[in-house]
């Protein structure tokens, strides 16, 4: 479950990055770990982005869980 949570957070983060890109002259791959870390360092704006992403991830996870429960048959739900 924890793994799913981070998957959701990172998926939103990656989407954000893919949408708001500014193509700089760079031949070096900064590395995804470093990129995400620098968003953490990014002051209020960066933290806001991270918190928003985590919140969306949390809500998304909750909805995903509810959706899964609705899909279960009454017999499965009793288990």
């Amino acid at each position: 479950m924890r793994s799913n949570f981070f998957f959701i957070v990172l998926a939103f983060l990656s989407l954000y990055m893919l949408v708001f890109v500014d193509h700089a002259f760079a031949y070096l791959d900064p590395g995804s770990g470093s990129m995400l870390l620098q968003l953490v360092f990014g002051g209020i704006a960066g933290l806001g982005v991270i918190l928003k992403l985590y919140w969306k991830g949390f809500v998304g996870l909750f909805r995903h869980k509810q959706h899964q429960e609705n899909d279960l048959t009454p017999k499965e739900r009793d288990k």
Binding site: S3, F6, F7, L10, A11, L13, S14, Y16, M17, L18, F20, V21, D22, H23, A24, F25, A26, Y27, L28, D29, P30, G31, S32, G33, S34, M35, L36, L37, Q38, L39, V40, F41, G42, G43, A45, G46, V49
Partner: protein
Amino acid sequence: MNAICPLPGSFRDPAGRVYDVDGQIFRTIEASFSPEFEFVKSTELLQKLIVDHRLLPFERVEANDVPRFSRETNYVLRVPRLRFVSYPYEWSFSALKTAALLHLEIQLTALEFGVTLTDASAFNIQFHGARPVFIDHLSFRRYRPGEIWTGHRQFCEQFLNPLLLRSFFGVPYNAWYRGTQEGIQARDLSRILKWRHYLCWNVATHVVLQSFFQRSVQNHNLELAKESLPTNALAPGAFRRILKKLHSWISKLMPADTEKTVWQEYTKSHSYSSEEIEHKQRFVSEFVRRERPKLIWDLGCNTGDYCAAALQAGAEYAVGFDNDHGSLELAFARSREQNLAFQALFFDAANPSPNQGWREQERYGLQVRASADAILALAFVHHLAISRNIPLEQLLGWIIGMAPRGVIEFVPKNDPMAKTLLRHREDIFLDYTRESFLSYLEPVAKITGTEIVSSTGRFLVAYERRSKS
């Protein structure tokens, strides 16, 4: 006329290439990167760094005055040839630390000029003595406020993590670094950290959290933007804070395996001067005055006593090699404090740096870089011949092959140092004798001077290599 090809190690950054033309070093700039370079040049940043001796100077050369390069270029710079090219895996802890601090300082200065660095390769820094100098003029480009620090991961791998390995665990990074060529990944370092290290904010973020993010992304096959980031990802103030905090943290790092007493020994090592050392220093000084070498190498340099003597006698530049990390620290401290043209590097003579990297041509081995006018091998031969089983004849041939002139010391078996090396093992070194030593030298070198320097029969030989007929 055939076009000249770039140096094989100059391929990573498409912005330009490096060429060695009859000993002159040229750096070319590709048309696509010229506007960036012209912008950086217009900011006067490069000029300031050159004046501060932090960047290698350059001059623009007109296209008509340069040879025909194999790649199209519209900008050519001529840069001074370095005395000796060394690699981060050959540097002592203090040298790598000094280089790391220089990188951060340059990045901080660059930001003031609206410029940033495209990478954080430790190979972009070279040393003149103990003074680091940045050599890559194409690493600078326009800074876009809000963009991330592109070189952060590389800085951690090539500077920070190797320093932490030595600082936390007392484990030298040199062999690991030489193996990977790219330094040490946060992922690898974080696996060996103890819980107490997590209490340090810098470790928790730059190593542990970075590694965690990296793993998460890889484990879930997420594709993040490869070349760029959100325009407001890292505010300029936050960027500067990261750089300043790293600078402050790194400047306090010390090797865990170096006792304080070793540093205190530095003063003692200067006041201490035995008759034998003085004798050897005199011999080396006379040799240097006679032969006038510009570049001298010292194999087994220890703290640099003989390099200092050679420089005082007129040598222009000295490169010392040793495999003792404590000695290298002292040698670096001596060079820095006395502002000597002396550089001390980590080296295992039985396993010196090889040609390696892409196509085994990206980084040169020691043999390829052997350009010394003279070589010193004092109290060196017995360590290799007895401790490492290197055949004496091969060893002498190897030393003499490195430089046309030099001084070699022979330590006989009855010397206390040689006895120490033999105390736990059978003496299988039947040809380790004065007679064999001289007979092995005879065919390859002419002896131009000899002197006994101790009561146990240690003696020095000055040689001149015979030309191959």
